[in-house]
């Protein structure tokens, strides 16, 4: 079985038409579904949160396919990522549609993750910085470790709206503090 890093690639990754945007509607729908699935799986296992359209993304090309149809063109990448966005599993980061935030966990799932993390570590009624949540000692070995900052903030804001915590400006200019009050 082929791998990309430590990610197991499915057989159809070597099927040349997989890398050409199919014009026939039913075929295209199936192709899009398979790409969505593959992108989410890959990002989850490799902890990738952002895909930039202009940059090389290893999943989007297959060196094994010699005819060099083995690389998704710009239009195809747009199509698959837009499909993810429509499904709510991704978001365009700004109007230009150049960078895509991949939500292989939905924001709600991340929020639940944070709540679980707080409970597991007995951090209720304490204060932490955002950075500590991401890269602190407690976060090691959890999903939260290395989480994209934008996503983390969104999850925290969601929890703030539910009254589970409060976000406030911290001592240093670029780090905010969180007071949990689950």
């Amino acid at each position: 079985m082929q791998t990309l890093g430590n990610f197991k690639l499915p057989n159809f990754f070597n099927y040349p038409p997989y890398f050409t945007l199919q014009p026939v509607r039913d075929t295209r729908e199936k192709q899009v579904q398979l790409w969505k699935e593959l992108i989410l799986d890959y990002c989850r296992t490799q902890k990738i949160f952002v895909i930039a359209l202009d940059e090389e993304f290893p999943l989007f090309s297959n060196p094994v396919i010699e005819s060099i149809a083995g690389s998704l063109n710009h239009e195809a990448r747009q199509a698959f990522l837009s499909a993810l966005v429509s499904e709510g599993r991704a978001e365009w980061m700004h109007k230009g549609h150049r960078k895509c935030l991949i939500l292989w966990h939905r924001i709600q799932d991340w929020a639940d993750s944070i709540v679980q993390f707080v409970k597991d570590n007995g951090l209720e009624d304490t204060v932490m910085t955002v950075e500590e949540i991401r890269s602190g000692v407690e976060s090691r070995g959890t999903e939260l470790h290395g989480i994209d900052r934008t996503i983390l903030m969104r999850a925290l804001k969601l929890l703030e709206n539910k009254g589970k915590l409060v976000i406030f400006k911290g001592s240093s200019a670029d780090d905010e503090g969180i007071k949990f009050s689950l």
Partner: protein, 480 residues
């Protein structure tokens, strides 16, 4: 009271009638009164002209050397009042050729008046009545005395009136009718067969020559005479050359027709006697024959307003052979080339071709025009089905090589025996039906069998045991 068909009195005809038709069935008997000639059944009272053969698309079948020259629409043909039992032919197309006047009705029956049976063409009447009525052309033809049926060897004559109710110009037609009648094209064959016998007689007579005076005034006059005669003769010879050329051309076309008939009727040779050369040259011959196909093209001059309709019918006839050669489907561009080549002169424009094809919808012909999504237009038999080609493509695309690297339009063209442009259309059709998937690379389009149907989104690693997906995987692995 006499026979309704001829003047023979009742008594006579009854006897004859019963003596010949003793056993004729009751229904027939009740249908007519006392005619003694077996062929003359009243239902046949329309059959006073010989029938003319039509092709499958409603065009007349021409005899050897017959060339169409003009066409009128909305024509009635009325027989003489002398023969009240003959019913007129109503509302058809009248085609003038070098040999006949052919009348074709809408309901695809056709009759012909051989020009050899015409004894006189009347000048059009100039009267006030004639100005307001539909134009009429009157001709006198030879008929059989018993029943008024047209007969080249008949002893009586009858006047036939051709009533022109359509919009086409009868004067031009009349002019051409005179030309054709005077041309006596039907006699050349007879001439040729009879001239061969007369030359034998002539050569024996030419032995003796009389000596003529070469001195004095008589001599000068003689010389003048001779010079005049020799000029006349060389002029004649020159025209002979032209005639000879035209005859040769006619011969060539006849030869081509004969060979074409031979090739068409000869089945693919079986048995051990054939060698490859023979077959190869036969193929060449066939190709060459195709380009010498049409001896009597429909032209704007000959058909006028009905040009497109007649062209459409001629095209439908012509297209049968190239269609078969090309496997049931041929592109419009190819037909344009081949058809024009066969016509030789009087080429048709692309618009004419397109219009002729679109008329096919309205008339009953076995071919049709088809436009693909990509815009490519083809001609195909109405009986043609995509299914067969799609099945062959399916088989092709499941071969190990095709599984590994797909097929291009030229691969398909070679395997299916059709033109690459047609092959591409078929591949695109197969793709739109979900049979194939495309792969675009700098080399161009390649098509693979569609595997997407077999892959599950819920489990992207699953490979079913007996599917094409599995076969594909094995084929790909085998090449590594």
């Amino acid at each position: 009271m006499g026979c309704t068909w001829c003047e023979i009195s009742q008594l006579e005809s009854l006897e004859l009638y019963f003596s010949i038709h003793y056993n004729i069935d009751r229904q027939l008997r009740s249908n007519f009164t006392f005619h003694h000639c077996f062929d003359q059944i009243p239902q046949m009272s329309t059959r006073w002209l010989p029938a003319a053969q039509l092709t499958a698309s409603g065009r007349p079948v021409f005899i050897l050397g017959e060339v169409e020259s003009s066409l009128l629409s909305g024509v009635d043909i009325e027989p003489d009042d002398q023969y009240p039992n003959l019913s007129p032919l109503k509302s058809g197309i009248l085609i003038l050729t070098t040999h006949r006047l052919i009348w074709i009705s809408d309901s695809s029956s056709a009759f012909a008046i051989p020009l050899s049976a015409v004894t006189h063409i009347f000048s059009p009447k100039k009267s006030i009545k004639a100005m307001f009525a539909s134009p009429r052309i009157r001709i006198q033809v030879l008929v059989s005395p018993q029943n008024g049926c047209l007969d080249e060897k008949g002893s009586k004559s009858m006047v036939i009136t051709i009533v022109v109710r359509g919009k086409t110009d009868p004067e031009a037609f009349l002019g051409k009718l005179w030309e054709a009648w005077r041309g006596r094209a039907w006699e050349t064959l007879k001439e040729e067969s009879s001239s061969s016998t007369s030359t034998d007689e002539g050569s024996s007579r030419s032995g003796i020559r009389t000596r003529s005076a070469v001195v004095g005034v008589a001599g000068i006059l003689r010389k003048e005479q001779e010079m005049w005669e020799s000029t006349d003769k060389s002029l004649q010879d020159a025209f002979q050359d032209l005639n000879a050329l035209m005859d040769k051309a006619k011969e060539m076309v006849m030869l081509a027709e004969k060979m074409r008939q031979k090739l068409l009727s000869g089945p693919s040779t079986q048995g051990t006697g054939t060698n490859d050369e023979e077959i190869g040259s036969k193929q060449e011959m066939q190709d060459w024959m195709l380009s010498v196909g049409i001896a009597s093209p429909v032209t704007k001059e000959s058909a006028g307003a009905l040009y497109h309709q007649q062209l459409s019918r001629q095209l439908a006839d012509f297209v049968k052979i190239p269609l078969e050669k090309a496997g049931g489907m041929i592109s419009l561009i190819d037909i344009y080339c081949v058809f024009n080549r066969a016509r030789g002169t009087e080429l048709i424009s692309p618009e004419d071709l397109l219009q002729a094809c679109s008329i096919w919808e309205k008339i009953d012909v076995p071919v049709m025009l088809r436009k693909f999504d990509s815009g490519v237009m083809v001609i195909q038999n109405k009986s043609y089905s995509d299914e067969e080609v799609l099945a062959r493509i399916n088989a092709l695309v499941l071969k190990p090589d095709s599984l590994r690297s797909g097929i291009s339009a030229s691969d398909a063209a070679m395997a299916l025996g059709i033109a690459p442009a047609m092959a591409k259309e078929h591949l695109l059709t197969a793709e739109s039906k979900g049979l194939l998937c495309r792969d675009i690379s700098p080399d161009g389009f390649r098509f693979y069998v569609n595997l997407f149907g077999e892959i599950l989104t819920e489990d992207i690693y699953l490979v079913k045991d007996y599917g094409t997906y599995g076969t594909w995987i094995s084929a790909v692995l085998a090449s590594r």
